[in-house]
Symmetry: C2
Subunit: 237 residues, 2 copies
């Protein structure tokens, strides 16, 4: 691998993950990760284009940004690429009416979506709303469809809250895939389309960007973020 100086030549933009990179979510709005408020400020003061690229699907962008601003971050709604708005675009384009298995906090992002007589399921990090009843409702909708469509906002295994590790949407996506014998469409990371839309928003090419992403906390025994040059992997995860 080339040395850092060489590898960073030509970099024009930065994609910043939010949970695990800027802050750890949790009770009372979570806590900023040490140094991250200052790092964002420095990046935004530099020549680099900055885009926040998150799989957060428990909150609307407005709520997420409000929370981060209260923690001291310089961030606005228009700077955030998040899976719920991307999913809404897909639903509209394809005439899909979802059964929403989502957290109440993100429901407002779907205000303009027709949810009558569902012909697909959208699943997100629903937290406590992942009840047996709600999972079974989603399952029954899918089993009634001739061509079942399951859209998953991300496929993360788990994330870290201040209180400990929490199951993310991925395990529940896998549960419905297995129950129905289908494959979900993932909107959000690691989908290449999702990264592309974030890059388009800042007018930067894939080979010109650096991605700062949370590591799997169990792997490193800590919350260390990792940074990768976009070309390093097909699908930064």
């Amino acid at each position: 691998m080339a040395p850092w100086g060489e590898r960073l030549a030509g970099v024009r933009g930065v994609l910043l993950d939010i949970s695990g990179v800027l802050y750890d979510s949790g009770a009372g709005g979570g806590t900023a990760i040490a140094g991250s408020v200052e790092a964002v400020a420095r990046l935004k003061g530099s020549r680099l284009k900055v885009r926040f690229c998150t799989n957060e699907s428990q909150k609307s962008r407005a709520e997420l940004v409000g929370q981060l601003r209260r923690l001291g971050f310089d961030i606005s709604e228009g700077e955030v690429t998040a899976p719920a708005p991307a999913a809404c675009q897909i639903l509209k384009e394809r005439g899909l009416r979802p059964y929403l298995l989502i957290h109440d906090g993100v429901r407002s992002e779907f205000d303009q979506i027709d949810t009558s007589n569902p012909n697909c399921v959208v699943i997100a990090d629903a937290g406590e709303s992942f009840s047996y009843q709600n999972m079974n409702n989603a399952f029954q909708v899918l089993m009634e469809l001739e061509n079942p469509v399951l859209i998953s906002l991300g496929k993360g295994r788990y994330y870290k809250e201040t209180s400990g590790l929490m199951l993310d949407v991925g395990p529940y996506m896998k549960a419905l895939e297995y129950a129905c014998g289908i494959k979900a469409e993932v909107v959000g990371k690691p989908s290449p389309e999702f990264f592309k839309s974030a890059l388009q928003a800042i007018g930067v090419e894939a080979h010109q960007v650096v991605v700062a992403q949370a590591c799997n906390p169990s792997t490193l025994g800590g919350r260390d973020g990792w940074i990768t040059r976009s070309g390093d992997r097909d699908h930064p995860g």
Copy 2:
């Protein structure tokens, strides 16, 4: 495939599934499937050895047998091979103390099991007890273990209740497998050990038995059972 007469020569025993073959579970104790009470009586009056072999894991054997007797079946607890007692034997043999993610109805089967300071997870068809909180508890137990052990009582995708299709334990097993990056040990069908223990109970060899098993109702659009000669497949499912 050989004609039926020829294929049944040498058959000495019958393994009967319960849910979907003898009855459909549901409100008020479920309903017997037409002709099944008489079929069981005829089989038990014949020269064939009969064993009931179920993946039922929402009820104790005592409760299940009581329910079936009320529906008119000639069945006793000692004639039933079920996954909870098989799991208890494994837990004792291996010194495992489970976190139990199970239905309250089957908890009495685990009365003799030490559940303090868990070093494994046992998951069964927990129904409404598959809350996010309980799933997250199981997940956190597994993530704390150096060698995580997940024992699943069956791995069925779903089953039919009188009110409709219901998610079975399999999807939730898959969810925990994905979350933790592990593979569950399945106790119950289609595990060969489970079938072997049912055969041992009636002193019949695998090539001498016929298995009557519920079909996937969505596949056939009905509740038709299927009958297979044990040698037809490696793991009658």
